[in-house]
Symmetry: C2
């Protein structure tokens, strides 16, 4: 791992502030001021000399050194539970854009939904002196994360709540999502709903969706029957097939409601395998995916404003960092958008 070969290129090493100072016949202090945002308080002549010297040496401040003394690293950390889901990619993209606009760089770490890996990454990130952290948690809060939050370190939670952490949280209004989904399915004429969720574990968004579903089912008892199935991504399709078959055999105007994009993918695969046509069996998924409009007759979804959620998460971080906002932690919930497609036009219903 040693980058010894770099030392071979001593001559081409990056110029330092000291060299610029010498070249410009100025003090290090002045050069530091020039690049540190206090340029105006320097005389025009000094400014010019420094500018010239810097240009000649192709000087670029060493951010590492700057942060060591100054305390500011300009680094924001982000822990992502699963970087491969479209939701995470979009949220991350949002965070990154917002961060860059404010002069921050983002260090993203994929925790693979593994709390242990999350800890490793968290240690790394703090060791690099991040100034704030966006957490899309992979489980319960680690002690280290709790300590950080307790000490007032700027943290914002994304999509997932974390007991023990007092921090702003940005995500979907899960109650609204379930409410809209159920209302839509009922209107469309479905009578039996199979809810597919990844294992709840300690994922608050899954928890919230499930309990709101339970609430809604209770509210509509008699007109809407509910069933729930937990499916892990590592599970084979073979574990889902019999569940759906069983559901189909007993259900009246059946519909599947998918708790997230992963489940929608699983369900679509399974329905295809079982040769069940969309629509005759309803399908509605939380999370809009690029292929949902492609699958005839189209899969109805609840779209999240994913990039916006990411951007907002960063904005919260910034507010925490400024004196501007002091107070209770906030929960910022975005409303989903229902995108109606053919997968929820119940044929029986129209026939009636």
């Amino acid at each position: 791992m040693p980058s010894d070969n770099q030392s071979t290129f001593v001559s081409s090493r990056r110029a330092t502030l000291r060299q610029v100072a010498q070249e410009a016949r100025a003090s290090k202090t002045s050069v530091s001021r020039y690049f540190g945002g206090a340029r105006e308080q320097l005389s025009p002549d000094l400014q010019k000399r420094i500018a010239q010297a810097a240009a000649q040496l192709n000087y670029r401040p060493n951010l590492i050194a700057r942060s060591l003394k100054g305390g500011r690293t300009g680094l924001i950390g982000m822990l992502v539970a699963d970087i491969r889901t479209p939701f995470s990619v979009a949220a991350m993209h949002g965070v990154e854009q917002a961060a860059r606009e404010q002069g921050f760089s983002l260090m993203v770490c994929n925790t693979n939904n593994d709390p242990l890996l999350e800890q490793v990454h968290l240690t790394q990130l703090t060791s690099y002196g991040i100034e704030g952290l966006v957490v899309n948690a992979s489980g319960q809060a680690s002690q280290e994360l709790i300590d950080l939050a307790t000490n007032g370190f700027p943290i914002v939670l994304l999509d997932r709540q974390l007991p023990g952490i007092e921090a702003d949280m940005v995500g979907l209004d899960n109650d609204a999502a379930i409410d809209i989904a159920i209302a839509h399915l009922r209107e469309a004429g479905y009578r039996d709903v199979l809810y597919l969720s990844e294992p709840i574990n300690h994922t608050s968004s899954r928890q919230e969706r499930l309990s709101r579903l339970t609430y809604q089912l209770a509210a509509h008892e008699g007109t809407l029957n509910g069933h729930t199935f937990m499916l892990s991504l590592s599970d084979d399709l073979a574990s889902l097939s019999p569940v759906i078959e069983q559901f189909m055999s007993t259900a009246n105007r059946p519909a599947i409601l998918c708790g997230n994009g992963n489940m929608t993918l699983m369900a679509a695969r399974c329905l295809k395998q079982l040769k069940l046509d969309l629509g005759s069996i309803g399908l509605l998924g939380i999370d809009e995916l690029e292929w949902c409009s492609l699958l005839t007759p189209g899969i109805t979804t609840l779209a999240q404003p994913t990039e916006e959620i990411g951007r907002r998460a960063f904005a919260c971080l910034l507010e925490r960092n400024r004196e501007a906002y002091v107070g209770q932690s906030r929960h910022i919930r975005y409303h989903p958008t229902l995108i109606k497609r053919g997968s929820t036009s119940c044929p029986d219903f129209h026939a009636t």
Copy 2:
């Protein structure tokens, strides 16, 4: 942006090496050795004292400070042209995993296919003292990148070649991909091929695929007719529709060949809109996407070993960093895997 509030928590500030040294009644040198990997050369007693003190203070070395003096940051940078494509996500995931296994952290920057933004990010990354750079280029090489490469800074190119940069390159064997695609389409009985590509710009992989296609078409003149259409992601579907309609009206056993996953998505959308059935018009895409198996009767694809490409890219970086490997830059090309599905079973052909 100032994180002034952190200074409020002086008492909870992270412990420093100096504090550990005091607590352990040892020198800073010894503590540094303890955490710097020279633990063995310390007496058992000293080791124990340091271990205790560190544990008590919950000490974690400040990586920023370490790298300032030691030169090593443990940071690897990655420039990604478009972080939202599945290919990039998977490649990035591969790089990150390989990096972590070797104790490196990854800083990923999305350049949005914008050379200017790429420069900005490159400046940032080098200012943070990255020890190596994986580049999925967004255009031509910037002067800064050329300088880096010229100075022997470890760089590896991913998926895209960059004129002016002497560096290892890891990607798909594009010639093989086109050869396999064409051979498969011919075997399946298609006679007219419409090749869809994003604008070549300076993207070598697009370039290579296109020229190999041209070569193949020439080789099969008379038995296979070719057409090419360039489509930008920002283009509306409306610009593609007439092209496909025109193609269909004149073609004999027509098939569409998509240069990458984005094009496959565009084509699938367009075909759906035009109500053209897959298979009657052939469709073959480079890049496997999660929904290709879902769309009846399935879209035939050429899958890339995306994660492996990422992992390999990092491995190259590491080799560059060690004295082990010195020599000409290498081009590592992976073979694609043909995944046959219904979209390339030409009905006319079977009828014949």
